[in-house]
């Protein structure tokens, strides 16, 4: 494979070697190592030798099934109802624990249930916390990716104007990115505080006392939303700068031509700006998606997995299991699953946005 790149560029290779070496040692090798470890029973430290266990880590992690439960009936066969008129169902634990008639559900726990007529279809899984983290992570990405990209685009359109002092605004919008995410999380933990938090005070002031203070991070319904808002605020400046660079590659003659033709602002955006930003849009969406899947620092500092697993994410679970509960092989299995999910979504995005 003798090409100009490999043969007459020795100095270039020599300069790149330290960088390549470090990337190989700290990113590429651990990447393959994670695949290997997830097939063993490796502990963080243990006097027992490591054994090869095949796919049992994945089986423990991903086992999910549906259990159909019929409502309780009395002796005659008609359904029983409690005082409120609701149907009564036997508890799931009677099927999943010490019940030899249902060995396939042994050790599983209820995740959620849907009602199909009178029957309750209960989704049971061996590792409900993992599935909840997967759901939380996907919910986070689904909201943060479009909102953050859209908000960054609006901001970049605003700061792309040739006004005096526009650089001050660019700096102000970019400043949250510079602050460490851990510091931002700590600050927002105080802002979101249910007793004396700044957010409750401001909302109470703006609504003339009608708004009652809420415990934003202590309520399973609002905790993840609070984390999303904080994450968007912190990272929007970074993507604003990327959009800005894309905007500035659009030739100004196009804009002159459109103003001569009498195009409105919306038409200018739709027919000139947006097509010119296509490549930037692909980059921004892919980068935001990948960064959003790696959500960890905010959770670790603010909610520790959140009230009733409402803010736990895949990376948080991997760290908790690998380091906290000393189960490196389980954490590696989660990492591999996360990798496959991100790879699938990235490939889908690339396919959708490919140049035809």
């Amino acid at each position: 494979m003798a090409s100009k790149l490999t043969t007459s560029n020795r100095a270039g290779w020599a300069f790149a070697l330290p960088g390549f070496g470090l990337i190989l040692m700290f990113i590429v090798i651990p990447f393959f190592f994670a695949f290997y470890l997830s097939l063993t029973n490796q502990r963080l430290i243990s006097p027992n030798p490591t054994e090869f266990v095949g796919f049992s880590n994945y089986d423990r992690l991903l086992s999910i099934s549906v259990l159909s439960i019929e409502p309780e009936v009395d002796g005659g066969g008609s359904v029983l109802r409690n005082d409120a008129g609701e149907l009564k169902y036997p508890r799931v634990r009677t099927f999943t624990r010490n019940n030899p008639a249902y060995p396939q559900y042994s050790g599983m726990r209820e995740w959620f249930r849907l009602h199909w007529g009178d029957t309750a279809k209960v989704v049971v899984a061996k590792d409900v916390v993992f599935w909840k983290s997967l759901r939380n992570t996907l919910m986070f990405v689904l909201v943060v990716a479009p909102v953050q990209a859209g908000l960054a685009l609006c901001l970049s359109l605003l700061v792309n104007q040739k006004l005096r002092g526009i650089n001050i605004y660019r700096a102000i919008y970019f400043m949250p990115v510079v602050v460490s995410i851990v510091v931002v999380s700590l600050l927002f933990r105080f802002i979101y505080d249910g007793n004396d938090g700044l957010l409750n005070n401001i909302l109470g002031f703006l609504s003339f006392g009608l708004f009652e203070g809420r415990d934003w991070l202590g309520n399973p319904d609002t905790a993840l939303g609070a984390v999303k808002a904080m994450s968007i605020w912190q990272a929007v400046g970074f993507h604003m700068v990327i959009w800005l660079s894309g905007l500035q590659t659009i030739s100004p003659t196009l804009y002159e031509a459109s103003s001569i033709e009498g195009a409105s602002k919306w038409q200018t955006f739709r027919y000139i700006t947006w097509p010119g930003l296509r490549n930037t849009a692909v980059l921004v969406i892919i980068v935001i998606t990948m960064q959003a899947f790696a959500l960890f620092a905010q959770i670790d500092v603010m909610t520790n997995g959140g009230p009733l697993d409402s803010t736990t994410t895949l990376v948080f679970q991997a760290v908790e299991r690998g380091y906290g509960k000393q189960d490196i092989s389980g954490a590696s299995a989660i990492s591999v699953v996360l990798f496959l999910v991100v790879l699938t979504i990235s490939m889908a995005q690339r396919y959708i946005t490919r140049t035809r």
């Binding site: 430290i45 027992n48 634990r93 249910g194 202590g218």
Partner: protein
């Protein structure tokens, strides 16, 4: 010529300086008390005395913040960088001994004579760690509160029953003078949850793991007694007797002193602060929920790392530090229970008639160590999450079942943890 002689003389002097310094072996030591001025001063006093008393070893200490201490030690063990002497939390010690981080101590039996059982860390019938103190938990309240609510004062021999305790909370809630009747300290996530709350579980008759075999938690953590505990635990928050997991950490530190809470479940490390604020503070024993009143035991202890090349010196330092005068000094500055009765007599607070003397009796009468097993590291985290989930309203039986499954699976994956 003269320059050559000067250089030779300087070289000789510098080499001899090195050889003098090399005669003292450096012992590195890690301690978990960064940020704690009083403990650091007390520990430094012991180190200086030890360094001055002999010329063979020289101890130097490095302090870590308590929250990240365990993770730092595990990371250092993996990298092979453990210090000679390190301190270890009592219930975590079996895990580190089983994993090969610690070696048995080489100290005389006479040095540990008369010690409370909590500060002695035994695993596999060998002594791996010794602590200077034991820590106890009590229900902190004020005599004026008891009088105004019309409650009798419980004693170690005659504690409150579960029903008496709940009616005391009900009276405190009904009086309207307090934000909450009972402050449990929910913001202190980490080891506080198993240490402070598993005694309640044990008082109901359950336990974190079955201690007869240490092979399963089935029946102990999800039996009828444990479910009764779970229902009681959930009712504390659902019925508004205690602030939940969203309690402000600042409220935990000063809320009882400020009068926000009628009763506070707190350890004797916070007792001195309460005593300074009010003069009628009383330390009440844990209530008896049916299986006897229980409180936790065993705190931080000192051990020698397995990879240390100076095990004799490290053990010598630990033996030196176990003298009564140092135990008494540590107790005076921290407020914790000294490990021997003879040291207690030298302290301000634990001598007879001292303000905290009652804790000595609580520790002797009610203390129960956490499960002595290498699997404790995982079961503690699982138990902590179960408590937080139940406090937040999750189904009690399902949560305890899930905790049992997780603990059992972990024990099985580790081949029984050497039991």
């Amino acid at each position: 010529m003269r320059l050559g002689m000067k250089l030779t003389a300087a070289l000789a002097v510098s080499v001899s300086w090195v050889s003098i310094a090399a005669a003292e072996t450096e012992l590195s030591m890690w301690y978990h008390g960064a940020g704690n001025e009083a403990e650091s001063t007390a520990l430094n006093m012991i180190i200086e005395d030890f360094n001055a008393s002999q010329s063979e070893y020289r101890v130097s200490v490095e302090s870590f913040p308590q929250e990240s201490y365990n993770d730092s030690v595990v990371a250092a063990a993996l990298a092979g960088n453990l210090p000679d002497i390190l301190d270890v939390d009592g219930p975590v010690m079996p895990n580190w001994a089983w994993a090969g981080y610690l070696q048995p101590l080489k100290i005389d039996d006479s040095a540990i004579e008369g010690f409370l059982s909590g500060p002695l860390g035994y695993w596999d019938d060998q002594l791996y760690s010794v602590g200077f103190w034991d820590a106890a938990v009590a229900m902190v309240s004020r005599q004026s509160t008891l009088d105004s609510l019309g409650l009798r004062k419980p004693t170690v021999d005659n504690p409150w029953t579960g029903e008496e305790f709940m009616s005391a909370l009900e009276a405190a809630k009904a009086s309207g003078n307090f934000d909450y009747a009972f402050d449990l300290g929910m913001p202190w996530t980490g080891e506080w949850y198993p240490y402070a709350f598993s005694p309640f579980l044990q008082s109901f008759g359950g336990d974190i793991v079955d201690r007869s075999t240490y092979a399963t938690a089935e029946g102990a953590l999800n039996g009828d007694a444990a479910i009764a505990f779970g229902d009681w635990w959930q009712s504390l928050f659902a019925d508004g007797y205690a602030p939940g997991t969203s309690q402000d950490p600042a409220d935990r530190d000063t809320g009882f002193i400020d009068g926000k809470y009628a009763f506070s479940w707190n350890g004797n490390w916070a007792a001195l602060g309460a005593l300074e604020a009010h003069d009628d503070v009383v330390f009440l024993p844990a209530p008896d929920f049916g299986n006897g009143p229980k409180i936790g035991a065993a705190s931080w202890q000192f051990g020698v790392s397995a990879s240390s090349e100076n095990a004799e010196g490290a053990s010598a330092f630990i033996e030196f530090a176990l003298q009564d005068k140092y135990l008494a000094n540590f107790s005076n500055v921290t407020g914790l229970i000294p490990a021997t009765a003879s040291a207690a007599a030298l302290t301000d607070n634990y001598a007879s008639g001292g303000a905290l003397e009652v804790f000595f009796g609580l520790s002797k009468g009610q203390a129960m160590v956490r499960p002595v097993s290498p699997g404790y590291v995982v079961s503690a985290k699982v138990f902590e999450k179960a408590l937080a989930d139940i406090a937040n309203g999750a189904d009690v039986a399902d949560t305890l079942d899930a905790a049992v499954d997780e603990i059992n699976a972990d024990i099985e994956r580790n081949g029984g943890y050497g039991h």
